[in-house]
């Protein structure tokens, strides 16, 4: 099984974003890295200057580089960005909205976790149109993962295995709203929360996390102990979604579990030290509420 590093969903400073990818290139045992801005089109220009350097460094390190498209496309600027991405030569695009498919592309592409692939017929439809990799929506249970991976042996099926789980996207910016700002004049306050703004219940229980127009889970997907199940299901790759923690160490842990160099239970214990204070969850895979931790 391979490892994929998903796009940074948060608004990290451009330099931090660049340095993070440089270190991933040099040190992280991942096979594929998804770059670019998927959440908010207003943030995209910040990365633009550093993107070529990041891509070059990742490719020089032998990583496959994939460029993420936006999740929600509504403004003219966003349509333009999407069209440009799909018409760019020599890059692999990860489609996060079906808008991308309106721009035909004879080159292979990937499907991201924000496209609704819930069954083998939808996966087959996308594969016939050129999708060679599909990262399934995080809420899919194992039975669906198995059915899709079994039906499409030629398509690399990926599962969301680490990181706060993206749960919703809106036209409204909840970060701006919390700061009593409008989306148009947001002052990029989301930069203050490199791991998302915590949303607790009125009892103080961790529940959700706000990242601009996106809502994520408070709990962190942690599928280390499910690796044998995912392997049997025919999953080709595990997605690690960047959080504000040592992602090189996270990738190394997953690599060691895949290589059976470390027991999953021990790996989970260490994961808790690398990314402390955030409960691990795997409920979605087991058909339980997403926040649940099944089998621990």
């Amino acid at each position: 099984m391979q490892l994929t590093l998903g796009p940074v969903l948060y608004h990290w400073s451009p330099e931090r974003w660049r340095d993070f990818h440089y270190r991933i290139a040099d040190e992280a045992p991942v096979d594929t890295v998804v770059v670019g801005e998927a959440v908010c089109s207003k943030r995209a220009p910040f990365k633009q200057d550093y993107l070529p350097g990041v891509v070059e460094r990742l490719q020089a390190a032998g990583k496959q580089v994939v460029h993420a498209s936006l999740i929600l496309v509504s403004l003219p600027r966003e349509r333009r960005q999407t069209s440009e991405l799909m018409s760019a030569e020599d890059i692999m695009v990860e489609v996060n909205d079906l808008t991308c498919l309106a721009f035909p592309r004879d080159r292979p592409h990937a499907i991201g976790p924000f496209v609704n692939v819930y069954n083998e017929a939808t996966a087959g439809f996308l594969a016939r149109r050129g999708a060679t990799r599909i990262c399934l929506p995080p809420e899919l249970p194992l039975a669906a993962v198995t059915a899709i991976a079994t039906a499409l042996p030629e398509t690399a099926i990926e599962v969301f295995a680490f990181g706060r789980v993206p749960l919703a996207i809106s036209a409204r910016c909840y970060h701006a709203r919390a700061h009593k700002l409008t989306k148009d004049n947001c002052r990029f306050v989301c930069e203050q929360d490199p791991d998302g703004m915590p949303v607790r219940t009125l009892d103080g229980a961790g529940f959700l996390s706000v990242n601009g127009v996106q809502t994520l889970s408070h709990g962190c997907a942690g599928l280390l102990r499910d690796v044998p199940l995912l392997r049997r299901a025919g999953v080709a790759s595990l997605r690690l979604s960047p959080q504000d923690c040592d992602m090189v160490a996270v990738a190394q842990l997953f690599r060691d579990v895949l290589g059976e160099r470390i027991a999953p239970e021990e790996a989970e214990r260490r994961l808790g030290e690398i990314y402390p204070g955030v409960p691990l969850a795997n409920g979605f895979l087991h058909g339980a509420p997403g926040h649940a931790r099944v089998g621990a």
């Binding site: 924000f114 819930y118 069954n119 939808t122 059915a147 919703a168 996207i169 949303v199 529940f207 509420p289």
Partner: protein, 325 residues
């Protein structure tokens, strides 16, 4: 502009016909439709009979088969499509690429509408659905402003349908798994959001506390009406303060936006609420019928007077005004 009305039961269906609906949308009693609540929706026979009644009165019926088909169980969704076509549906409302692809190939003459669950929010995405499946209409997600809708219509060959009254989704529909995270029941897979089976109300220290899937969604002080704990309309706590961080418990009421929506070129206006009773359907449909008639006659629209039908007696025009964002 056509008036599209909800029906969760044959009785609600007849109420919508009586009240002046141009078309009614409804679904089968199973997980293939996105309002899969207990005691709601239509058996095959009820669907056939209701469609016959509607057609006698010149009313169209749009059958919603708008969840995402369960892997390994596509036959259930395909059977719903075949049965709806067989029962005489005027259009199918679909969201999943698998169901759109099946319907377009198996029933090439059948009119297909793209469900709001498909999240088609721009002209390119709509073009993809029109070109791939021959979709004739798209139901737009509740994240667009009126100028954005007007721009979509200018560029699209597809008809557009927009929500004007009822529940307000603040997340893009079809791409929200908040409910699934809290309860294990998913809008996309099981057709439910914030399901009643996972709701509790309890009294704590003189306050009413509502929970969903064990998470506190709201607390109500003395005398404050305890609303339903719809997840995205709860009170939560953040480092910037506590409150309704996503949206207040309000309903969508876009009656005052009707002239603008009409000028934008919207084909159809949709009322939400397949889970609501006959009285709701009758009153809301009549009110919007009057408003549309006034607009058609070039007269000022009468006040809707629907406050009692809204959540918490509060309403918003939501994303139709850009300031909402």
């Amino acid at each position: 502009m056509e008036l599209i009305c909800p029906a969760g039961t044959p009785a609600g269906f007849e109420a919508a016909v009586e009240a002046g609906a141009d078309a009614i949308y409804c679904g089968f009693r199973d997980e293939t439709n996105a309002r899969n609540f207990p005691g709601l929706n239509f058996s095959r026979e009820e669907m056939r009979r209701s469609i016959a009644i509607a057609h006698q009165r010149g009313v169209k019926v749009l059958v919603a088969i708008n969840t995402f088909a369960r892997a390994g169980a596509l036959a259930l969704w395909q059977a719903s499509i075949d049965d709806a076509v067989d029962a005489g549906a005027d259009a199918l409302i679909l969201a999943d690429l698998a169901t759109l692809d099946y319907a377009a190939r198996r029933h090439p003459e059948q009119r297909l509408h793209v469900s709001v669950q498909a999240g088609a929010a721009n002209p390119d995405s709509i073009r993809f659905y029109a070109e791939s499946f021959g979709a004739r209409r798209v139901v737009l997600p509740r994240v667009l402003s009126v100028p954005e809708i007007a721009a979509i219509i200018r560029e699209s060959a597809c008809e557009t349908e927009v929500f004007v009254f009822g529940g307000l989704c603040v997340m893009e529909e079809g791409r929200c798994s908040l409910s699934s995270y809290a309860t294990g029941k998913s809008p996309n897979m099981q057709g439910v959001c914030s399901p009643a089976s996972h709701v509790t109300y309890e009294e704590r220290d003189g306050e009413i506390v509502s929970t969903l899937g064990g998470f506190t969604i709201n607390r109500f002080g003395k005398g404050e009406p305890a609303g339903y704990p719809t997840l995205c309309k709860g009170r939560f706590s953040t480092p910037k303060g506590s409150g309704y961080i996503f949206e207040e418990p309000v309903s969508l009421d876009a009656a005052i936006m009707l002239p603008a929506l009409r000028a934008a070129g919207v084909t159809a206006l949709k009322i939400e609420g397949r889970q609501r009773g006959r009285a709701y359907i009758a009153q809301v449909v009549r009110s919007f019928r009057r408003t549309i008639a006034a607009l058609d006659a070039g007269k000022p629209a009468p006040a809707a007077g629907l406050a009692t039908m809204t959540e918490g007696q509060a309403s918003t025009v939501g994303a139709y005004r850009k300031t909402w964002r």
